[in-house]
Amino acid sequence: MPIISKEDQDYVRSLFDEKLTGDVTLRLYTQGASKLVVPGRPECPMCEVTQQLLEELVELSEQLTLEVRDFYTERAEAQADGITQIPTLVLEGASKGKIRFIGAPSGYEFATLLDDLIDLSNGTTSLEPASRDMLAALTEPVHIQVFVTPT
């Protein structure tokens, strides 16, 4: 049973056909599908559904690629991407900085994800020139966390 309905698939496919120009990689940090309970390891109730959602999403455009990483066994990569929670999705495209989704990108956040994929594919944003200049002149790191809920 797909998570993205047939109707939504058709809509997103045509949106991607129209708007995506460059490749975007979606790297998902999750945990293996094993049902074994490992003592001390927290459960990840949203890992499986997030992976399924993203597998369905990347099917809708050839510009999108999904890489699935195991947070617990691929530690070096997880550390390099600064991953502390799962599921975490790292988006890679025409962006200078790093964009991550921590938790399942469902509800309103699914629309945000689509917008980000389009921006990352095209390397364009709707920022004002003055904002862009300020960002280009930064000399120290800035971590922006946007807390949301799906509804």
Binding site: K96, I99, V148
Partner: protein, 69 residues
């Protein structure tokens, strides 16, 4: 969007309901809540200028406190 313009920016979208300990740490009582470098924050939809101003605050030497204060 801002992360696209500078390699020094990391932007995280955090699903607060899934990570209550993070929501508690950052005192998330309303969404969206936006936190900059653990130092400056605001709630609700704001114009682009508010984001620019918050980034300027956290990258200046006396970065501290709430954007609303």
């Amino acid at each position: 969007m801002m992360a696209m313009e500078s390699e020094l920016i990391t932007a995280d979208v955090v699903e607060a309901g899934e990570f209550p300990e993070m929501a508690q740490k950052y005192q998330v009582y309303a969404v969206p809540k936006i936190v900059f470098n653990d130092a400056v924050s605001f709630e609700g939809n704001r114009p682009q200028e508010a984001f620019v101003s918050a980034i300027e605050q956290v990258t200046s030497k006396d970065a501290e406190g709430d954007a609303e204060s």
